[in-house]
């Protein structure tokens, strides 16, 4: 089975109903997406498929079709971080950090669809990624900062 992750095509020998997260972590050694719950309740495994956020634990690799996968490892440009990553650093969002790759991938996809979000919209989008450290106030501030940066172009 072939799949494209972060711009690189891979060949894997797996069953089509294997969750994408298992393929990424165990077959391709791409460990940025984290295993948290395995049932779409925590969001730590969030990646992009054709630019849209997807919980990698819920997507069977056989259902990818020709979808291009982007993980936290492939979000930045070679010479610069993605604006959401930079905002995360500027606002020192991460505490334990386990959920942060999911948080950042969710925030990046969210801002692509909703570039000028309100506090309420940010809360609705980001509370679907569980952060046991409770960094949500910093997450909200960082998303606002990233949105402003994206508006600047």
């Amino acid at each position: 089975m072939r799949l494209t992750v972060n711009g690189t095509e891979h060949e894997v020998d797996v069953e089509p109903d294997m969750p994408l997260l298992w393929v990424l972590r165990d077959e391709l050694n791409i460990t940025g997406p984290k295993y948290g719950c395995g049932i779409a309740q925590c969001g730590a495994c969030t990646v992009h498929v054709d630019g849209l956020a997807v919980r990698a634990c819920q997507l069977a690799v056989g259902d990818l079709a020709d979808g291009a996968v982007t993980t936290i490892e492939g979000l930045a440009q070679p010479d610069s971080l993605h604006v959401v990553q930079q905002a995360w650093i500027d606002h020192q969002v991460a505490q334990c950090g386990y959920c942060q790759s999911g948080q950042i991938m969710q925030a990046a996809a969210f801002l692509d669809l909703n570039p000028e979000p309100t506090d309420e919209e940010i809360d609705a989008a980001m509370s679907a990624i569980l952060c046991r450290c409770g960094t949500y106030p910093r997450i909200r501030a960082a998303v606002h900062a990233a949105a402003a940066k994206l508006q600047e172009g």
């Binding site: 109903d17 049932i39 819920q58 259902d63 669809l113």
Partner: protein, 202 residues
């Protein structure tokens, strides 16, 4: 604008045409038979597998029924937005991922997000009937203004084509399925429609 384009694309892509049921109306049906059919239709429509996603402008899917304990809004602060697919916040398809076909093991894991071979979405606002009475839902379902301008056959065909509705009878993951069967439900729609869409009195 981007949200509307995305919503249109997802909804357009989520209309597979698969004929699974026989849509043959009876030659006749009495009002009494129509009301009996309606009572069964109401059991289905008000069942958690159906009603949980028939919420209104609040845009909050519900978690209710024996699989969930107490009735409450969908966890994780999920809102479907005006798009009804979550495009303003978190796309429904982020967790309710879209299958390429109807493979058997898709929904075997308890508490995991159900998946079907179309993009997950909340029912339209005008189809809000969570917690409503039999009379209220009956009047809604026979009203073209609120049922998507569907007649009896169009209602039956909608049930045949919408794979999220099919999921209600095979939800997996320890969830209680909707009562009867998809074919029986379609048959009841056809009996009810042939009888003139009778509704119970208050």
């Amino acid at each position: 604008m981007k949200l509307k384009v995305l919503a249109a694309c997802l909804l357009a892509a989520s209309s597979p045409v698969l004929a699974e049921v026989d849509i043959t109306p009876p030659t006749s049906a009495t009002p009494a038979e129509g009301l009996e059919a309606w009572s069964r239709i109401y059991e289905v429509a008000s069942h958690p597998r159906c009603a949980n996603c028939h919420t209104g402008a609040s845009d909050r899917p519900m978690w209710s029924g024996p699989s969930y304990g107490k009735t409450r809004p969908h966890g994780m602060n999920i809102r479907a937005g005006e798009s009804r697919i979550g495009a303003e916040h978190v796309l429904c398809s982020t967790c309710h991922t879209t299958k390429s076909d109807d493979w058997a093991k898709a929904n075997t894991t308890s508490h995991a997000a159900p998946r079907v071979a179309m993009d997950w979405q909340l029912a339209p606002v005008e189809a809000d009937w969570f917690g409503r009475t039999s009379v209220e839902i009956c009047e809604q379902l026979r009203d073209p203004e609120r049922n998507g301008d569907r007649d009896m056959l169009a209602l039956a065909e909608h049930l045949d084509h919408d794979l999220i509705l099919h999921w209600a009878w095979k939800p997996g993951g320890g969830r209680e399925p909707a009562p009867y069967s998809l074919q029986a439900h379609v048959n009841d729609i056809l009996i009810w429609g042939t009888a003139g869409f009778p509704c119970p009195e208050n």
